[in-house]
């Protein structure tokens, strides 16, 4: 059974001129449990919007999103928040770590809203990503690569069923990008989480067995109207 199943999904945004612009129009898309899939997408192709829809951060204008058996498209925002907290781990290109909190606290925040807060487990996760000696460091005290590893640990802290990674290596140099990619894939594999990773880096995308191009599945048409 598919972990994520999307059908006839569309999303519009209003342009500054007042026109409605359809940014996503996806007929069908699925990910199975524990599957690792890469999605190729150029800047402005709507890939972040697509991930936000899957995460329930925004809601679709039409279509259905079934996530782990829950009709995400039909749920209230509050319920979507709870489902996101318990089911999804999110890795951002800009890491989005809270600068006022330590590495350990940032990972704990990943557990706080979805599962039981377990400091030992958070510390162990940081150990797994090689930051066992940096628990009390602030993000600003870490290198870019280390910050991304904290973000990876945070995304896995709530034992998600699906990890969404939005250009996770976009801010890293090639060596670090490779390391980060391997780390994400290894940890997702070990924890049994499915992975949906979007990137425009063809070299990284080529490492995935399942890889799709967003422009093949997304066919938005420009619409005018109020």
């Amino acid at each position: 059974m598919a972990l994520l199943e999307i059908k006839a999904l569309s999303k519009h945004f209003r342009t500054p001129e007042g026109n409605l612009q359809k940014v996503l129009d996806i007929d069908s898309f699925t990910i199975d449990a524990e599957q690792q899939m890469a999605l190729k997408g150029q800047s402005g192709s709507g890939k972040t919007t697509f991930l936000h829809l899957i995460a329930g951060i925004i809601s679709p204008d039409s279509g259905t999103i079934q996530l782990d058996g829950h009709p995400l498209h039909a749920l209230s925002e509050s319920y979507r928040d709870r489902l996101r907290a318990s089911t999804i781990g999110y890795i951002f290109q800009t890491f989005n770590l809270l600068q006022g909190f330590t590495c350990l606290e940032n990972v704990c925040l990943g557990m706080m809203f979805g599962s039981t807060l377990d400091k030992k487990k958070a510390a162990a996760l940081l150990g797994e990503v090689g930051l066992g000696n940096y628990l009390q460091h602030r993000p600003s005290q870490l290198s870019v690569g280390q910050q991304q590893r904290v973000a990876i640990a945070r995304a896995l802290a709530n034992q998600p069923k699906l990890v969404l990674a939005d250009e996770p290596t976009g801010n890293l140099d090639p060596d670090l990008a490779q390391d980060a990619m391997q780390l994400i894939r290894r940890l997702c594999g070990e924890s049994g989480a499915a992975l949906l990773l979007v990137s425009h880096d063809t070299e990284l995308l080529g490492q995935f067995e399942h890889c799709r191009d967003l422009k093949d599945i997304n066919t938005p048409r420009k619409e005018n109207g109020a």
Partner: protein, 401 residues
């Protein structure tokens, strides 16, 4: 990490703003506590002070001036009472005690009051409490130049048993106006927490016959302190002395005269209270603007928390809790501000009147002021919390695809 942990971390991140806002809440709370408690305690203390007497007989004047001069030992004497009037009132059947006092001299600003030793030996200054001299002292001999010094006056002047001093003419200290007579301190009153504490008591004759005083008024007195057998006597004497006579004033009942004074100056309390409330509103505005301004820089943090699964109401509650904690800290320290203000005010009141007020005596405002400040702080946090609640997530996660 908990919701409270997030709040505490945020408060630490904005430490300066937190401290300033908490201080303004503390100041407002301290002012409100001070206004209400000092007002009520002063009211109770002054209305409760009667030095053991029900009435004062004095020269024709206002009743309030008579009471202030004779009971509280402030204000000038309105004039003299002839010795014959004293003898007449002393024989009145409705009177238990009638004791004369004479004023007109001081020692370094502390008033000398001439009276009969019975006033200190027989009268209860508060119910069940008589005057007492500290060990090593004794009551003054009415025929000698001896003095018994009130506790506060002795403390301030550094007078002890065996010391001598020269009185000064008038109620205000003027070093040019020293009398030739030398008085010996023979006793020091134990504290009474009443105006008697700031008085130097000497024999009546000593003050009447002090060098430089008018010899023709040598038997006159300033007032007669009266203890009635029953209240009805007061009605009759009020009628005969105040309404039918025109030479003397019978100030009765003492406590109601003081209560009327507080009613007359009630408008001043209201102004003080208004100022305090205004400060509280400004402080609440400080919380509101302080938090509201940080919302802009915290939009991304809020969006991250929301992306991690925090529901809108958790974000709302976090900001509300933050403003409540600021107000809570302020409310706690409002007692320190109150203690400082009270210390200053009670010192002035004691110095001026001898009346002692107690800062930590229970008063309902000790409960409702901090609670009110916390509630106000929480209310002030509602608008920033609403802004946080409405923060859009996707737009503030910064990544652009």
């Amino acid at each position: 990490m908990s919701l409270f942990g997030i709040v505490m971390r945020s408060l630490r991140q904005h430490l300066l703003s937190t401290c300033i806002t908490s201080c303004s809440i503390a100041l407002a709370g301290g002012l409100i506590l001070s206004v209400w408690i000092i007002k009520d305690q002063a009211n109770d203390a002054f209305v409760g002070v009667h030095a053991g007497f029900d009435a004062v007989l004095g020269a024709r004047s206002s009743k309030l001036q008579l009471v202030l001069n004779s009971i509280f030992h402030v204000e000038a004497s309105p004039g003299n009472v002839a010795w014959e009037d004293y003898l007449d009132i002393r024989e009145h059947p409705g009177i238990t005690h009638a004791l004369p006092i004479a004023v007109g001299d001081n020692f370094r600003g502390y008033r000398l009051v001439g009276t009969l030793p019975e006033l200190l030996q027989n009268i209860e200054h508060h119910p069940g409490q008589k005057y007492a001299v500290s060990s090593g002292g004794r009551w003054m001999d009415p025929n000698r130049r001896e003095a018994v010094v009130g506790f506060f006056a002795a403390q301030q002047l550094g007078l002890k048993v065996g010391d001598t001093f020269h009185p000064y003419h008038g109620l205000l200290y003027d070093e040019e106006k020293q009398h030739a007579e030398t008085y010996v301190v023979v006793g020091r009153l134990k504290p009474t927490n009443s105006p008697a504490d700031r008085v130097i008591w000497i024999p009546l004759a000593g003050l009447q016959k002090m060098s430089g005083h008018d010899p023709q008024a040598a038997t006159d007195i300033s007032a007669v302190l009266i203890k009635l057998k029953q209240p009805q006597s007061g009605f009759r004497m009020d009628m005969s002395i105040n309404k039918q006579g025109n030479r003397l004033t019978f100030a009765w009942p003492v406590d109601q005269i003081m209560a009327q004074l507080f009613q007359k100056i009630g408008w001043f309390d209201k102004i003080l209270a208004m100022v305090a409330y205004l400060v509280a509103v400004v402080a609440a505005g400080g919380i509101l603007s302080g938090l509201y301004n940080t919302m802009e820089e915290r939009r991304r943090d809020i969006a991250i928390l929301r992306a991690l699964g925090a529901r809108r109401r958790i974000i709302f509650g976090t900001i509300l809790l933050e403003s409540t904690v600021i107000a809570l800290v302020g409310a706690f320290f409002s007692f320190a501000i109150y203690a400082i203000i009270f210390e200053g005010a009670s010192g002035i009141i004691r110095h001026q009147t001898g009346v002692v007020i107690h800062p930590w005596q229970w008063h309902p405002s000790m409960l409702w002021t901090p609670l009110g400040m916390i509630l106000l702080g929480a209310l002030a946090g509602c608008i920033p919390a609403l802004k946080a609640y409405q923060t859009p997530v996707a737009e503030n996660l910064t990544q652009i695809s």
